[in-house]
């Protein structure tokens, strides 16, 4: 290892100072080398362990699920024979698009307001930030109960796609807000100065210079949110219900893939199908991640290498 070479090289240089010092220097070098070795090994072990745990989960799900993937698992309508995941899959996508359509404009707008239109040490900003941070940490069941009381009961929207989507939108709003805020703050002030110095107003600066530069960060928040939506079951069982059909309107009850798996697993009769569904869910999440990475690289092409963080 090169680190070791440098250490012993330093020891050799010092050897002219006398045998005593040489000995001490040599021992110090050995000790440093030993410490470095231990540190490296620990870090490596942690990495290997993490990877091993992840891989074994994936492998376990694949082994349990793959043999049970069959054609009728994807048939267009659900019945207790085929246990099709197709309606749930489509519902998941609907739920995702709907929640994002509500939360993204709100969260992004709020982030723009907080970063670009108010002072950085503004009192109000600090309160909003504290609230957002708190809200990100709340268990999703709390959102579910709120959705149940407010959308389902008080507004009378029943267990429905809309109640579920709004509940999820509230749940991911702080995530989107925080990530978009960080992304905007990471855009160098030099871009703001450049834009203002050319006579551009604040809105134009935000829309044409800052947002494009912040897109990778914003997208990261969106991906995180999609992950939470795909993985959510508790909040949805209370707000969107568990009907395994495609909704005919916003006010119909639906189940997403996660809820679908929860129901299959809790009924206990179709564990194999639950695993098969899990495989499909994994593949989709993987695909979404790949897709958004691709989109991010596409969107930042105009800026070339290192766009937005030069």
């Amino acid at each position: 290892m090169s680190g070791g070479d440098v250490q012993s090289g330093a020891g050799a240089l010092r050897s002219s100072a006398g045998p005593m010092q040489e000995d001490a220097a040599h021992r110090a070098a050995l000790r440093a080398r030993g410490a470095a070795f231990v540190q490296r090994s620990l870090v490596r072990l942690a990495a290997v362990l993490t990877l091993a745990i992840l891989l074994s989960i994936i492998a376990y799900i694949a082994v349990m699920g793959l043999p049970h993937i069959s054609g009728d698992l994807f048939s267009f309508s659900y019945n207790s024979m085929n246990l099709s995941l197709m309606p749930a899959l489509i519902n998941t996508l609907l739920m995702t698009v709907l929640s994002l359509a509500i939360a993204l404009p709100l969260g992004l707008g709020a982030a723009i307001f907080l970063v670009e239109y108010t002072g950085r040490s503004n009192r109000f900003v600090q309160i909003v930030r504290l609230m957002a941070e708190t809200l990100t940490g709340i268990p999703s069941i709390v959102y579910g109960l709120f959705g149940l009381l407010f959308f389902v009961t008080a507004l009378g929207w029943h267990l429905s796609l809309l109640s579920g989507a709004l509940t999820l939108a509230i749940m991911i709003l702080p995530v989107i807000l925080r990530t978009a805020e960080e992304a905007l703050k990471a855009v160098p002030d030099a871009y703001r100065e450049g834009s203002f110095s050319l006579g551009a107003g604040r809105l134009r600066t935000v829309l044409k210079v800052l947002l494009p530069a912040a897109i990778p960060g914003i997208l990261a928040g969106v991906i995180l949110s999609i992950g939470r939506i795909f993985g959510e079951s508790a909040a949805l069982i209370f707000t969107a219900g568990t009907v395994a059909e495609l909704p005919e309107s916003l006010f119909d009850s639906t189940r997403t893939l996660s809820v679908h798996m929860y129901v299959l697993a809790s009924e206990g009769l179709h564990i194999d199908k639950a695993y098969a569904t899990a495989v499909v869910l994994l593949v989709i999440v993987f695909a979404i991640n790949m897709l958004s990475a691709f989109v991010a690289s596409r969107l930042t092409k105009g800026g070339g290498e290192g766009a937005g963080h030069a």
Binding site: A190, K208, E305
Partner: protein
């Protein structure tokens, strides 16, 4: 004229040949009077009075923190972006008070362009960088934008290097090219004044020389105010030089006068490299 060993004076020029711009014969373009500027409680500029003449290069020199950037940013009101920045006194641009109530700041910044210390092209193509300003001010037609972009590139001495690379990312250019691109970007909105805040401090000597050449060429049509740390640079390109110390304008005169026979001993110390 005894102690100016370290500064080479162009031989042909003598003080007698200088344009008489500081004596009031010519009308100034920018007139700064009784300017006091505070950052919160700290006063960064003390009663600055200064006339800046059209189609000249005016250099601002002085040690770090003496308020050069602060002054230059007051001329296009970039200081508005700093919270707790207070300004007293007035700056007139062509007779119009730029801090007057009804002033359109965006329009002011269109008239007074700025180039920064570190090149700051946007993360977009070369073309979009230059077209940003004109688009901001309402130019939409492709042909018109194309012409403006080409013109700005030509004026910034970049056309030959970049005319086939308009779609390239501006961030892929060299530092010197990026700075000239920023100059082109500022020129594309057809300003009257160009403010340059140490535009060459991040550049190598060759790129620096090119920017200096460019500044000299541009003063035919623009009024240039340049902040520089480099006294040779002030001497090479500027007509007037203003020396600042601790937020005060110590001395303002023809550049050769400032460098050869300054009136104030503090100026003398600074230009001869005794401090700063």
């Amino acid at each position: 004229m005894n102690t100016k060993k370290e500064i080479e004076m162009p031989e042909a020029l003598t003080l007698l040949e200088l344009p008489q711009t500081l004596t009031g014969e010519e009308r100034s373009l920018i007139s700064i009077s009784k300017l006091n500027l505070f950052y919160d409680q700290v006063q960064a500029l003390h009663n600055v009075n200064m006339e800046i003449y059209p189609r000249r290069i005016t250099a601002l020199i002085g040690p770090s923190g003496c308020g050069k950037s602060t002054l230059i940013k007051s001329i296009n009101r970039m200081n508005d972006l700093v919270a707790d920045c207070r300004i007293q006194g007035s700056i007139l641009l062509d007779g119009e008070d730029i801090y007057a109530r009804g002033m359109d700041v965006n329009l002011l910044r269109k008239r007074v362009g700025m180039v920064f210390q570190k090149p700051n092209p946007f993360p977009m193509s070369v073309y979009d960088n230059i077209a940003f300003g004109p688009r901001t001010h309402g130019v939409k037609k492709k042909a018109e934008l194309d012409a403006l972009v080409e013109r700005a590139l030509y004026d910034a001495a970049l056309l030959d290097e970049l005319k086939d690379g308009l779609r390239r990312s501006a961030l892929a250019l060299s530092g010197g090219q990026q700075q000239r691109l920023c100059i082109a970007r500022a020129l594309a909105v057809e300003p009257e004044v160009l403010l340059m805040d140490e535009p060459t401090s991040a550049l190598d000597p060759i790129s620096t020389a090119r920017i200096e050449e460019l500044a000299l060429a541009l003063k035919e049509r623009y009024t240039i105010v340049i902040v520089t740390h480099n006294m040779q640079q002030a001497l090479r390109i500027s007509d007037q030089t203003a020396f600042f110390l601790l937020g005060e304008l110590v001395e303002y005169n023809h550049t050769l006068q400032i460098f050869s026979e300054p009136e104030d001993p503090r100026t003398d110390d600074y230009v001869k490299g005794r401090f700063g």
